[in-house]
Symmetry: C2
Amino acid sequence: MTSDITNDEESSDRQSFRASCDQIREFASNALIAAGTQVEASRSVANALTETSMRGVDSHGIRLLLHYIKVVQGGRINPGPKLAFTQTGASTGIVDGDNGFGHHASYFAIDRAVAIAEKSGIGAVSVINSSHFGAAGSYVLRAANKGYVGLGFCNSDAFVLAHDGIHSFHGTNPIAFAAPVPGKEPYLLDMATSVVPWNRVQDYLMEGLPLPPDVTVDSSGEPTIDAAQSAALLPLGGMLYGHKGAGLASMIEVLCAIMTGSPYCSSLPAMKGPDFSTPRHMGHFFLAIDYRRFVSPQTYEAGMHAYLHDLRSQPSKPGRNVMAPGDREWLVLEERQRLGIPVMRQLRMELDHLADHLSIQRIHYDE
Amino acid sequence: MTSDITNDEESSDRQSFRASCDQIREFASNALIAAGTQVEASRSVANALTETSMRGVDSHGIRLLLHYIKVVQGGRINPGPKLAFTQTGASTGIVDGDNGFGHHASYFAIDRAVAIAEKSGIGAVSVINSSHFGAAGSYVLRAANKGYVGLGFCNSDAFVLAHDGIHSFHGTNPIAFAAPVPGKEPYLLDMATSVVPWNRVQDYLMEGLPLPPDVTVDSSGEPTIDAAQSAALLPLGGMLYGHKGAGLASMIEVLCAIMTGSPYCSSLPAMKGPDFSTPRHMGHFFLAIDYRRFVSPQTYEAGMHAYLHDLRSQPSKPGRNVMAPGDREWLVLEERQRLGIPVMRQLRMELDHLADHLSIQRIHYDE
């Protein structure tokens, strides 16, 4: 059991170059600064991208740097946002991201939510005027690393079939949840509410392989296993039970768009353009919970360890292990801390080209 | 798109007897009181069962009355619970259900959560020492009807295959979410995190029909379409993508069990016995959110109506309609308010038998 954005990256063994996490982080930060982004925002984005790559979630890791440089240079992203926090209740507040990078606004928001939770037990913070924030897991992990349970939600532009419909409507709308595991890396769930993410379909296309059944539909809404004919992802649950994935995606629209006054799925400008100059005004929603208001730390710790032990000890299919949410990520993290982050040949070429274009130092690879 | 506990009831057309909602509510309340339950708790349970039946969620409606009479008479349920609320922070609190009915404790808890949210913007209330609470939707609807966004979670005993495992581990762990829709019935999502609920499998068994693929496994963890051979439900996402449904179920264990110090899935005494005398000490978790802390009421109302209109207007497959969460429930509600709640012949016989056993008046059916 793990987030699908992680599963998505099982193919990372194709990579032949590795660079240290520090190299990647510094390069990303330097590139964003060279493209005009303010230092603090650049560091937030670089941090999110690098840590996401370290957890093995390559779809939302360093490879997104090229996209982010494009959108900050295109004008969609405000390179020098002034983040503003308005507390609207003892336990609620709104972060205005000033149309800067979503990562920057989201770290800021979850930190506010944790500070509120410290005082009142739970903090709920929305983000408005934001943009793509990378992996939702980044922000709930921040909460968990500070000792709080975190929940994070974001919508996206339309990729996923409306259940019983024939066209895409909702986004891949992720839900992320993290909780402290005393003495260990946090518990971490980070999942899109579609069956798979769009770039998984692209992987099948590149490799010329048929998709598994019940993953996508073609442009007339009929199921297809042909990646080239795929026009929309199916919501989690597929053709028969997709009302559940669609229901979760819809809940996330209510939390992130309707409840924040931000654009919902089908009215969001597409992440992939062609317009890279207009701000997207995206909304997010974060919760931080102080579990100590509900249970003694001793009982929590004992319960969490017993539950995770029982789950991981379940008899498994041959060649598989029953895993807890986050287990796969922390295995990959340990490996990548030792060996560095893998970068595909094509991505390396593009990052080298970016370095030259921005007149910054190229990434140094371990060769 | 709708909750699966609702879909589960499409077969309710088999029913040939109808009784008014008031009849059902009064009968349930009288039966619980006659079985020794205190008046207020009886009314809570009767209300939850009746409203759940009215929404078409028959699996969690009046047919559960027989079970609840059995467990209150067996001693599992405290017939005269003293509910206690301890506020543990400006925005958090714990309800001790005193091992009475879960419905009673859960209405009490969501009312506390709403009262807190009224003051501080969000309220988080856990329930401990509770039991089966029926449909999770009942409590978030209470929040929405008071003008607040509600979220509710509950775990259950082990019914669902551990992803990559061969035996059941997690419960069907529902998530429920409701939000006000000004001028209309609330937005309502109420779904188990398994592909289908267990009683759907029982329906296929009774009708001698093969199951759809990717819904259950047999006792060795192999997929089966034979209801009689089914030993565990698959988590939402099925064999390939069940890490997502399992991840959601697991998140709900953390919120309801680990974070409340209550038993988790595999350590919960089975709802269906054989032990009906030992309290189950179940935990639940509820949130109420004041959306006005994040958006103006005007913007919220306009956004909600625009979003729901767009969703419902999506081009659909022949013979289907794209629906919003709750649409199906409110259609059924309207019908059942007019025509009454359908009761199957077998259930009618059992309820009549119960009436005689408890020396209370039988339900009057419209014939």
